[in-house]
Amino acid sequence: MRDTLTGSRIRERRLISGLKQAQLARQVGISASYLNLIEHNRRRIGGKLLVDIASALSVEPSVLTQGVEATLIAALREAAADAVGQEAEVDALDEFAGRFPGWAGVLAQMHRRVVSLERTVETLSDRLTHDPHLAASMHEVLSTAAAIRSTAAILAEPGELDAQWRDRFHRNLHQDAERLAESSKALVAYLDESESPGDRRGLPAEEVEAFLERRGYSLPELESGQDVSEVVHSGLTSPASRAVAEQVLAQYAADARVMPLTELRAALDDCGLDPLHLAARFSVDLPTVLRRLAFLPEGILQRPAGLAVCDSSGSILFFKPVPGFTMPRHGEACPLWPVFSALTRPLVPIRRRVTQLGRTAAEFECFAIAWPQPVTEIGREPVYRSVMLVLPIEDSKGAGASEVEVGTSCRICPKSRCDARREPSILSEGF
């Protein structure tokens, strides 16, 4: 079904581009009459000619060969793969989308809604336990999602459905979609309100992280030796967040002093991103290097760098995200992250290749180490902290297998067999 319409898509794209048939034919080195045959789907097209035509029309070749149906098929395939306990006839996807494009579109749309909803759950599950208002809102959203999922699955079943039932389910689906949109908006409005100053759910550390994110995790004024308190007072309002920022930025300034930007840039050019080598070159400890690498102006490292710092209770003291790297704030993180494993062997550097599980698995190279904080009295036990630098691996398919698979938190982790599991996942089947 898909291949036979390539010519029609070429014609459509050519008209959008405002090119005459003869002009396009000349650009790709064929006769206008041959292009005419192609555009009327009377000649098959592929290989170099297809690439040349796509280039002349400024589109990807796949847009011409697959068109919008490819997106629909991909969405249906994803819906089938995500289905639990229900096997779909994947071989008949083309036929289904071809015979019932409207229903296929509805199913794909509903699946996208469910996916979006799951992401919302993932983001909010950390707060869910602590906020009854949020829990009630999520109940509303999940109940609507349950109704949509159940109704859409009935409509997607093969075979004829009685017209009366079909119309009723169609109406229900529409109602639920509207309701989901409304409840989602209400939820967002509720969360937006929570961003207001002084809100009980805003953590000082989160406020500091938001401030640093706005500044791109790079503060030239600290690199050049400006006083930390001036920076803090110019960017943060609440006393608690200022207190936290004082600590974070004082550490930043100290790290920048012993690893100045110019020398660091030269060192990275010489020996690449090798934390141990950098530690030796600057005569500093590994935690300093890991922290410093996460607070650099854009473009100095070839890839973005995430960071997590925790204390020995597992509480996250600082978190800098990179795409795909998430960690709950309230002590429900996956204990398999190297930042936590490092606490079991202080001062031993760890390097691990880690996959964060989720709808779109992301792979990272992680460096971690735990180290004792200075003690102020003889005989007092040191408090340990652990730091982890997180570097995304872009070419994950070409590289070796990950050593560790981690989740965000047990409640929304899809990994069924896990020694670290604390509670059942809401993504799994009921017991």
Binding site: A83, V84, G85, Q86, V114, L117, T129, A135, M138, H139, L142, S143, T144, A145, A146, A147, I148, R149, S150, T151, A153, I154, W165, R168, F169, N172, Q175, D176, R411, R422, E423, P424, S425, I426, E429, G430, F431
Partner: protein, 126 residues
């Protein structure tokens, strides 16, 4: 005699979908949307199986289940509980209250049908 299920759920479109699925499987489906008098409704309907939502107006599904199990003749009645909260403590609470099966939203139709078939088969054997 056809098997009877009582579906206690305040979300009408979930009720509609489950009613369709179970009717097609040969069940006689009765519905109820209120927690406050749910126990009375179960006692009156005498179903072979109950599907019970947790968050109901009037009284929570957990309380309904606890009260239901206080009736000696209702102790073996299969109860499938539906909830948006899937935390371990919610499951534990449901188990203590006497749930037969616990299922989190959003569930799939296959999950519901399988659970209903399993629970009914188990109850029929005893």
């Amino acid at each position: 005699m056809s098997r009877k299920v009582l579906l206690i759920e305040d979300e009408p479109n979930i009720t509609e979908a489950i009613r369709f699925l179970l009717t097609r499987e040969g069940w006689n489906v009765e519905t109820h949307a209120e927690g406050g008098n749910a126990v009375e409704a179960i006692l009156a309907a005498r179903p072979d199986l109950v599907i019970l939502d947790v968050m109901l107006p009037g009284k929570s599904g957990m309380d309904v289940l606890r009260e239901l199990r206080e009736h000696e003749e209702m102790q073996a009645l299969p109860v499938l509980m539906l909830t948006a909260r899937g935390q371990s403590r919610d499951r534990e609470m449901a188990e203590k209250a006497g749930v037969s099966r616990f299922m989190t939203k959003p569930f799939s139709n296959t999950e519901v049908l399988t659970a209903v078939r399993d629970l009914h088969a188990q109850a029929s054997r005893t």
